[in-house]
């Protein structure tokens, strides 16, 4: 009895001494909380994610325990099993995002849609970069990990979580394949760099565009978009993308369903709930669950550093590719496209578009590019979902061979 009691009293401190990586993770959680709260960068996700990291690094790990002997799985483990592993939570975020997204800027200016494709090159540059690092033997990256790292370049949080969870699960289901759990690292990288878009992009934009290009005005008397078009767009997009890339259909169909709730105009109460209460509940669960994938023993690996560098590389190459494609289109369109809007193709809605707007106004206060940049911006979301579908279709088949 005495032994039981005494060991129980000290067990927290003992556990901490045995795995001091927990303490290191407290500081990482603190840094993310600082970024979210003091710097107000992506607080909606960073505060829950950082809290999840903290909860996953408390002695004995009560909140992420597997359970058994009368003890249920830990609070965060339940969320992970029923929300993350089933894709439910990232897809419900997509539902809310769909209900929040206004595709009108893209619909009224269809030629900017293509710019959403260019920026996806960042995904594949980072994927190849990860494989190259894997070939050095220092970092343990296979095709599954490379796909998860690459998708960071899509600058889309839920898609990143969706793909990295899928890749981990697929790897674990294959008997002969090892896979690292990098869900937390890729998610934190994605959200961190989305927060840092206003720092990452401007130097690259300046480097790759001439002042004359940046001064190109684009008329903002855009073509009006009928309600019918706004309603038909999500329906048609669901069908088109799903036929061409069936594995992208969950992401696209659910985002477009959310958008249909909004644009139909007849189910406002459903649209509001999808945007607000349901979204908030899901954000809390998503953030905590993702944070909880990062016990120190999982996160504090050399690979994590590589993931953060590759993620930054992905954001940068995506920006570069977007701008280069826009420059090309500018040439062919007779100088009517400001190449800066190509940088908005990296998604990170609406930060990337706002960066373009700010840079344009700095050089010419009368130049309003926001609406033109929103086109590639939201097209980039569709582009990244498409890329996710391609990865889901090809990677497991290649790895499974």
């Amino acid at each position: 009895m005495g032994d039981t009691g005494i060991s129980a009293i000290w067990e927290g401190i003992v556990a901490l001494g045995e795995d001091p990586r927990m303490i290191a993770m407290w500081f990482i959680a603190g840094a993310l909380l600082y970024m979210g709260i003091a710097k107000k960068k992506e607080p909606l996700l960073l505060v829950p994610i950082a809290s999840g990291i903290l909860m996953a690094n408390l002695p004995l790990g009560e909140l992420i325990r597997v359970g058994g002997e009368g003890e249920p799985p830990g609070f965060l483990r339940v969320f992970q099993d029923f929300g993350l592993t089933t894709d439910l939570i990232p897809l419900l975020i997509f539902l809310g995002l769909g209900a929040l997204t206004d595709f009108a800027p893209m619909l009224s200016n269809p030629k900017t849609i293509l710019l959403g494709a260019g920026a996806q090159a960042g995904v594949f540059m980072a994927l190849i970069g990860a494989l190259l690092l894997g070939m050095t033997g220092v970092f343990d990256f296979g095709l599954l990990e490379a796909a998860s790292i690459g998708i960071i370049g899509g600058a889309d949080g839920p898609t990143t979580i969706f793909i990295s969870t899928r890749m981990r699960e697929i790897g674990q289901a294959l008997p002969d394949v090892g896979v690292r759990d990098i869900v937390g690292a890729t998610a934190v990288a994605a959200y961190s760099y989305m927060a840092l878009v206003p720092i990452i992009q401007p130097p690259l934009i300046k480097l790759l565009t001439t002042k004359k290009e940046r001064l190109i005005r684009m008329p903002y008397a855009m073509r009006p978009v009928s309600r019918r078009t706004k309603i038909l767009f999500p329906i048609v997009t669901t069908i088109v993308v799903s036929v061409l890339v069936p594995k992208a259909s969950p992401l696209i169909a659910i985002m477009m369903f959310g958008n249909l709730l909004k644009e139909s105009g007849v189910v406002e109460r459903l649209s509001n709930t999808a945007q607000n209460e349901l979204m908030n509940i899901v954000i809390i669960i998503l953030g905590l669950s993702v944070g909880a994938t990062m016990p120190g023993s999982v996160f504090l690996q050399t690979e994590t550093i590589a993931i953060f560098f590759l993620g930054l590389f992905a954001f940068m190459t995506a920006t570069v590719a977007g701008i280069l494609l826009a420059k090309l289109m500018n040439v062919f369109s007779g100088g009517t496209i400001n190449p800066m809007i190509g940088a908005a193709g990296v998604s990170a809605v609406p930060m990337a578009a706002r960066v373009v707007q700010d840079m344009a106004q700095k050089e010419d206060p009368e130049n309003f590019l926001l609406m033109h940049a929103m086109g590639p911006n939201v097209a980039g979301v569709i582009g990244t979902a498409t890329v996710a579908g391609v990865l889901l279709a090809l990677v497991p088949a290649l790895v499974g061979n």
Partner: protein
């Protein structure tokens, strides 16, 4: 890890970029067509608000060429029953609908203005919080 994996990565990248361009080009064409259709109906406003919807119904014979164990008649019957049933119920509803159409047909200036307003207010905290989750 090895050379083969790297090749697979290159293959995935090539296919991926190709598919993304194809998908977005198809979407772009679709959006252009939807826009054309808008301007057509704007020029000659019809009383059939969503004429495009029943039209494809007529196009369904395409399905009969395949090896289904259901005759196209069955499909047509179900579709038609649903489509016909809700034809105009009360003048109140249809007139409300008609006025809604009017808004749709001539939204030009107000939309542009609201777009501009949004540009100006894009730094408000509410706007910032809206996305990037």
């Amino acid at each position: 890890m090895n050379w083969e994996t790297f090749q697979e990565g290159l293959f995935v990248s090539g296919v991926g970029m190709g598919v993304v361009f194809v998908v977005l080009i198809v979407l772009q064409v679709t959006v252009v067509i939807l826009g054309r259709f808008d301007r057509m109906t704007e020029a000659a406003p019809s009383d059939e608000p969503a004429a495009s919807e029943p039209a494809p119904s007529a196009g369904s014979p395409a399905t009969s060429q395949a090896s289904t164990d259901v005759s196209p008649g069955v499909i047509a019957a179900i579709g038609a029953a649903l489509a016909l049933a809700e034809e105009e119920l009360s003048p109140a509803v249809s007139s409300a609908h008609a006025s809604a159409r009017t808004v749709v047909v001539h939204p030009g200036n107000s939309w542009v203005q609201s777009g501009r307003a949004r540009q100006m207010s894009s730094h408000s905290p509410g706007a910032v919080e809206r996305r990037s989750l």
